[in-house]
């Protein structure tokens, strides 16, 4: 009796041990690279897609669009949306691509700053959407300069969520009290003159604007269309010198405080009364300084010369289809329904405050609402006016590396401990050397 029980238990253990081994082997089996031949899926089939995103507002919108797609297109459609922290998402995505698609989603939101990393190596791991976008006419409906962020060597791998036009946000009450009307600025020269009326001890007209944002306003960027490093170009150095002059010559600008919390505290206290920011910055203001409701307004950026470009671009996120997906066709159909439709784009603006890069949506009255936070201003009108002028931002496999290296030296430049020309040249040359080694 006792003996049989022992044997039974032993058998159980052996079975458990083998079962465990089986699991490990099964995991190894899955790790083998899967063939790159995605199967087309038919119209109303049972299909579950997985999507990764790093922002909760995006996740909400994706879920809403999936519901919409299920109702209108494919009742058998399921979308599993995972919210993953910003850097983790891209680390995990790269590992999944590297291992042949193990655990990879079908669709992923890839932030433009992280996209360059995927261009490094054999292939980015995303489906080339160029032909689909062109033959179905979507390329003309999207703001072309925005698609540059997800394009490389003539291939487009993603669809942009946001137009990201850069404008000047300002505290209407403060500027008005100083007798200055920012809506009448046409050039940065006008801005500096006006800002001198506003800046007092402890009150700065603005934090140092981002160098790359102003550089793009002037039509250049850290990389050009051919992927060459342009960080140390004369225009880039001159732009940096101009930014430094805002503080050291004109006395109207100051470094951004040392943490997000410190920055918003300073804004709340009225220590900074204007800021250069993209459309999404409107949402940041509402979330972080709700008590300043009604006091902020937005205007087009002052131009570098009369009649010049009145905007730039900053940020962005593209939706990409993984080329390891088994359901590429269904994913594409879903992206058309959500990313490339007027309804989808309008809903996204309503749910996430991201102004769409999809031009047919701009006329929708739902994109032109009076925003109480901005004193009843119609921000959508401003964004859509600036939309066609948004400059391109070119992608490079080395962008992350350049930004990481520049970031470490930027403070020394802003404090004039090292000349901008030297720092830019040094970082640019390091990146050029890296590029030549590959």
């Amino acid at each position: 009796m006792a003996g049989t029980r022992t044997i039974t238990r032993r058998r159980l253990l052996q079975a458990a041990g083998l079962g465990g081994l089986g699991l490990v082997l099964a995991a190894c089996g899955r790790a083998a690279p899967q063939g790159g031949t995605p199967q087309a899926s038919s119209g109303s089939s049972q299909v579950q897609l997985e999507l990764w995103t790093f922002v909760n507002t995006h996740a909400r919108w994706w879920r809403a669009m999936a519901e919409d797609y299920r109702k209108k297109v494919n009742p058998g459609f399921q979308l599993k949306v995972s919210e993953i922290a910003y850097q983790d998402l891209f680390d995990k995505l790269r590992i999944a691509i590297q291992s042949g698609g193990v655990g990879a989603p079908d669709i992923a939101d890839v932030e433009q700053g992280a996209f360059g990393g995927f261009l490094r190596g054999g292939s980015p791991g995303f489906v080339d959407l160029t032909d689909r976008l062109q033959t179905e006419g979507y390329m003309d409906q999207l703001v072309a300069s925005r698609e540059a962020l997800y394009s490389y060597n003539g291939k487009t791998y993603g669809i942009e969520h946001a137009l990201c036009p850069v404008v000047l946000y300002y505290r209407a009450d403060v500027w008005e009290a100083a007798g200055v009307d920012p809506t009448r600025f046409s050039t940065w020269e006008d801005y500096i003159l006006g800002a001198k009326q506003v800046a007092r001890s402890g009150v700065h007209a603005l934090p140092f604007p981002a160098h790359d944002v102003l550089l793009r306003q002037r039509g250049e960027d850290y990389f050009d269309q051919a992927g060459k490093v342009k960080l140390d170009s004369p225009l880039s150095v001159e732009t940096m010198e101009w930014i430094l002059a805002l503080k050291y010559q004109h006395g109207i600008a100051e470094e951004t405080p040392d943490s997000d919390q410190a920055w918003w505290a300073a804004v709340k206290e009225g220590k900074f009364v204007s800021v250069v920011g993209a459309d999404w910055y409107a949402g940041f203001l509402k979330d972080n300084v709700p008590e300043l409701k009604g006091k902020w307004r937005a205007v087009a950026l002052p131009a570098w010369e009369k009649g010049g470009r009145r905007t730039s671009c900053s940020g962005g996120t593209g939706a990409c289809i993984l080329d390891t997906s088994q359901h590429v066709e269904e994913a594409w159909k879903f992206l058309k329904h959500s990313m490339l439709s007027v309804e989808g784009n309008v809903r996204r603006y309503e749910m996430t405050n991201l102004y769409p890069p999809f031009k047919p949506a701009w006329k929708s009255p739902r994109l032109h609402v009076k925003d109480e936070y901005f004193g009843g201003q119609d921000l959508g009108e401003l964004f859509s006016q600036l939309g066609p002028d948004v400059p391109p931002q070119y992608q490079s496999p080395f962008r992350t590396e350049l930004n990481t290296k520049l970031e470490a030296s930027m403070q020394a430049v802003l404090r004039r401990q090292r000349p901008a020309a030297d720092v830019f040249k040094q970082v640019a040359n390091e990146i050029r050397r890296e590029m030549s080694e590959e």
Partner: protein, 295 residues
């Protein structure tokens, strides 16, 4: 025969889950990264190219790697010469006679250890703020001291990280010492007191020698922990380690090279260099403390 073999097999199967997990998640990655460290591989889905010891040679002339090594060593020194002595001091205070609220203080100093490094870093990013931070406004200002840019001044960054380390690890190190102190037989101290030893002599010639095993353990753990530190500096300063890379630790550089610049081969070489440095320092430290000495 078959039954006897089964009897022998069962225990191994019983312990196999751990070893299988260990093999898959530890042994394999360790060997794989050793293999990778002799290759150059840029980005995902690219073909690795054999480069021999080139990655290791490159480390010697890589300014950022040397900077990270220097920064990490700075922190390790702070850990051994600031955090460990402070923990010993705290342990002595906590064992002092007639201390009220002893249990409370033990918990008070130990509690930070339960918190994740990421959470601590987020809290300290507020504490260190120049204009709104706790330290500048409530510790330095009342003493008439100027504001310190803890996270922006390259000279202040490492002291700031050591301060975070002090807050995080003081309690747990003090706990080790506390155990050691409680294991010292009271009669030895009594005998020394009867022989006329003062409190310093008591500490120097009785307590400290008897604490040696604990001290060796704590210092070893402190060195290994220092060279593995990642979350606090990475969250406080960003993965590049803040202005002038003043807070770039070796683990952060490994992360940057591997996951941002996608050079897995070079990142593996950094990982192995890090492991070798930790082993060498630990052996040196054990030797200095006389672990290998014949008793």
């Amino acid at each position: 025969m078959s039954g006897a073999r089964r009897m022998k097999l069962a225990p191994y199967l019983f312990i196999s889950p751990f070893f299988l997990g260990y093999a898959v998640f530890f042994v394999y990655p360790v060997l794989r990264s050793l293999y990778l460290s002799f290759f150059e591989q840029q980005g995902v889905r690219s073909q690795p190219r054999f480069v021999g010891f080139e990655n290791y040679l490159q480390l010697l002339s890589d300014g950022l790697f040397l900077k990270a090594l220097l920064n990490t060593t700075y922190y390790a020194a702070g850990s051994v010469f600031v955090i460990v002595p402070a923990a010993l001091g705290l342990a002595l205070l906590l064992t002092a006679r007639g201390l009220h609220g002893r249990e409370f203080f033990r918990l008070f100093f130990f509690a930070p250890y339960f918190t994740s490094g990421v959470v601590i870093a987020i809290i300290f990013s507020i504490v260190f703020s120049r204009d709104y931070g706790l330290i500048n406004n409530y510790l330095l200002a009342p003493l008439g001291l100027p504001k310190v840019e803890w996270l922006r001044n390259p000279v202040a960054i490492m002291p700031a990280i050591i301060l975070v380390g002090l807050w995080h690890y003081l309690g747990v190190n003090a706990l080790y010492f506390l155990v050691g102190l409680q294991n010292i037989p009271p009669e030895l101290k009594e005998a020394a007191v009867i022989d006329g030893a003062g409190s310093w002599q008591l500490f120097r010639y009785v307590t400290l020698p008897l604490l040696r095993p604990i001290l060796i353990f704590v210092v070893t753990i402190a060195i290994i922990g220092s060279y593995n530190l990642f979350a606090e500096p990475a969250v406080l300063l960003g993965a590049e380690g803040g202005p002038n890379n003043a807070g770039l630790f070796m683990t952060m550089y490994l992360y940057l090279v591997g996951f941002r610049f996608l050079d897995f081969g070079y990142a593996s070489a950094i990982g192995y260099a890090l492991a070798l440095i930790i082993i060498a320092l630990t052996l040196l430290q054990l030797r200095l403390m006389g672990v290998f000495r014949e008793e």
